[in-house]
Symmetry: D2
Subunit: 281 residues, 4 copies
Amino acid sequence: MYTFDIDCSFGYEVKQPSEFIFHIQVAHHPWQTIHEEQLEVSSHLHIHEYEDEKELNRLFRFSAPAGPIELRYRARVSVDMPYRDPAFREMDIAELPSEVLHYLLPSRYCESDLLSGMAQRTFGHIPRGFDRVEAVCDWIKANIAYEVGSSQASTTARDVLANRAGVCRDFAHLGVALCRALNIPARFVFGYTEFEEPPPDFHALFEAYVGGQWVLFDATRMASIDKIVRIGTGTDAKDVAFATIYGDVEMKYMKPLICDHVDGQEPNFAHKDQFIGLKTA
Amino acid sequence: MYTFDIDCSFGYEVKQPSEFIFHIQVAHHPWQTIHEEQLEVSSHLHIHEYEDEKELNRLFRFSAPAGPIELRYRARVSVDMPYRDPAFREMDIAELPSEVLHYLLPSRYCESDLLSGMAQRTFGHIPRGFDRVEAVCDWIKANIAYEVGSSQASTTARDVLANRAGVCRDFAHLGVALCRALNIPARFVFGYTEFEEPPPDFHALFEAYVGGQWVLFDATRMASIDKIVRIGTGTDAKDVAFATIYGDVEMKYMKPLICDHVDGQEPNFAHKDQFIGLKTA
Amino acid sequence: MYTFDIDCSFGYEVKQPSEFIFHIQVAHHPWQTIHEEQLEVSSHLHIHEYEDEKELNRLFRFSAPAGPIELRYRARVSVDMPYRDPAFREMDIAELPSEVLHYLLPSRYCESDLLSGMAQRTFGHIPRGFDRVEAVCDWIKANIAYEVGSSQASTTARDVLANRAGVCRDFAHLGVALCRALNIPARFVFGYTEFEEPPPDFHALFEAYVGGQWVLFDATRMASIDKIVRIGTGTDAKDVAFATIYGDVEMKYMKPLICDHVDGQEPNFAHKDQFIGLKTA
Amino acid sequence: MYTFDIDCSFGYEVKQPSEFIFHIQVAHHPWQTIHEEQLEVSSHLHIHEYEDEKELNRLFRFSAPAGPIELRYRARVSVDMPYRDPAFREMDIAELPSEVLHYLLPSRYCESDLLSGMAQRTFGHIPRGFDRVEAVCDWIKANIAYEVGSSQASTTARDVLANRAGVCRDFAHLGVALCRALNIPARFVFGYTEFEEPPPDFHALFEAYVGGQWVLFDATRMASIDKIVRIGTGTDAKDVAFATIYGDVEMKYMKPLICDHVDGQEPNFAHKDQFIGLKTA
């Protein structure tokens, strides 16, 4: 079990009255215990919090008039991820719970229906199970370059395959798409993480359904898999955007900070010097 | 209010043990009253029925050994669709219920994120509201040819725009994608309908969220909008396939029949002569 | 017959030694008479002029060291386009000269192989001949918005169909692709023109092979078809880029000027005030 | 130097009067000496032979009325390919002959403009020269599965990258596209070859311009590079289709045979037993 302090802040200049949907709060997920959390926003904003239907993702929305706005979300969270057993089996379709079947379908950024030939050729001969999903991750790591700026908001798993480069979101999309193409249910996970090299940031990973449960995988191999603080889960990135904005808005800053929590101490964020004060609600 | 008799039958030759998921039962939808229904299947099949999370779609699944299988679903259903008021307003984002926001996002077959330029150029100048969605339907009807065989399972809304032909599924995808690109929540609807010209068949339509409710639209203009018996609702066709099969299977026949119900009379299916007897469970 | 004065100048800042290929000189084309022309370049550049294999396009190339460079091309040209007879027939394949057959094939930006269904549905019923090509132009004009910035260097005819917007290059690509899809040989034409509204600029059009000859068409309807000074002809835009640069270079200005020539008078360029002096060779 | 006997025959059933263009005759290429050749066709066909502008490709065309037609092409050809020197340099752009520059441009099936990121990431660090083109071939061989049926007529180099499978045509397209993306001129070559494993067949390869000359490469590694009898050369497969048919025609048989010639002996085609007699002109 690990405990983390999170301190995430945003500033925007709203040019015209706009609508904001934020998805930055830690999920109400069985692996996670939220010890405390606080959401601060500019005083003139009226926040409406809600959860999506599956009661895992927590979002909030508000209308903002023209002018500057700021948000800050802080939380202390413990994460206790179950053991990822290499002996986990792939389930037969008949064994899959009905509520999981949906995660076999293609989605906007994971066109698994177009990748079945490629997936079968590349991974069809590998024994089914946890290790096959690891083989998918190994293959992605070996064949796709991690390169900031190499992809766009509209980039799909198939684009990543052709372009052979992407960022964590693209690695996760490709992992999801290839698993689904192999008839392994898979979904997209978005969270906070410390990386081996700073700065801390949001991270995108994916889960595959093996051994009768959702198991986390990281095709980038850039984070410790048991040190992910989950924000959201969805079919792909479109379901868990940290901010969706309708209107004319300029982002001024974004600071997703996370550090190991040490009892009795102030959070020691690696990049605390970058921190910008927020006018609290 | 209209009452219909439905009689839908399928036959398959299963080559190797396979998994089936069927989505042919009439939805538990507020507009629909199911008077009676009966599902018959080959005697050796064990059916598991379930509903998806939003409790509208009803599905069933089973494992089938090699050999022939048959299914027959019969129902008598009344449909009472609320008045589609041309005065229905488009909602502002701020007015949309949180559970509807999801239907603004792109999906596998409705890449609304790629169509915003086209949608704004073509429909941006039209006054917002019910009539703008009708204008989208008119445009699709005028610009896209209804042509059986012109599209495939992987065809998306953008493909339809370029190819300028499709079937009802493609018309619905394009309607959904254009509405979302205009910030109107939209979703895909699958059902049974009588057409103006026989034979009866499955039909695909779409709903847009206007006037604070989901309102049905048919870009093909081929069916009476108030005579749709809804099977399922989803983000696009992938969510409401009438049959999803994992395995090696050959379809022998498929017969989706529907007719107006007349009290005290046997159903008078226009194509009853095509009917093939089913060995019931 | 019309006579034009052309005055076209470019300035670049070369960051690192780079290679330039320019394609701005008026073509040696039967419809055109070049009365005089002059190419001036920065004194340190060694120009190599060449023509492509079909001896219509004229190009020049040079290597440039780091530093500023300037080019200026001036010409006086008469254009006498043959009569475009509405009675021109479409040729049967058997009638086409062998050297024209190549222009039935798809090219990078004109995927005619993917558009045959759409082309047949939309134009298959129109009587074959000159007027069918005009109908293609009318359709493009009616269905595609002319919008600067709506397309990119990689935009193809199929993209334009889906996005329903483009600039002259995209209009020409779509005209070419649709004609080829109808088995009418077609090619891309690049030139100088006065527009009905200033400023003058480069323009892209296309030619279709009807009546036993190459006939010019302009799907944008923005220029007088008989007032085009041809620079180059090719399968699509990639063959007639006005500048192809290998290296790290910043464009400082580009000025393609054209005006009607009046004997005994200095050229009266509408935007002469914008003219920037060039250090001549 | 190798000498080959070629015996290539086709049979079609023409349903309606149709136009045929064939590209099966051995090229007039400096590496090749044609000792004898004979073209036989059904007696009622009038053949028109022609060469394309660069005088390498030889084609013939004819109109066929409804009914059966047959063609047979036989040739004895010596091929003497120059030494492929691993020390061949990549040329700088400035060194490239002007007539070669065209082969740096993208084409219908080789979207080199879209692959520059991938090409630079994967091959940018490899020393420039012959060995870099070999590295491109090695990479293709290692990463793309040779699988009959995995691609279609419209499949492009980028599709092959995403699907990771193809046939010789696709391997050649990818080789061409990656070379162009690295600023190495490249073109598509189509010919006859013996394979290490029978049956003999048409083959697709590519040439890269290194060491001041066009050098042949085979990304499939399935044929002896010096045992290719060249039929045609072009920007990609669209330029060298062995048969282009306008009309309603059914192919009955196609037999491209090739074997080593032994003086004084009848050709010993490995699959002569399959040979079908042709009614000669």
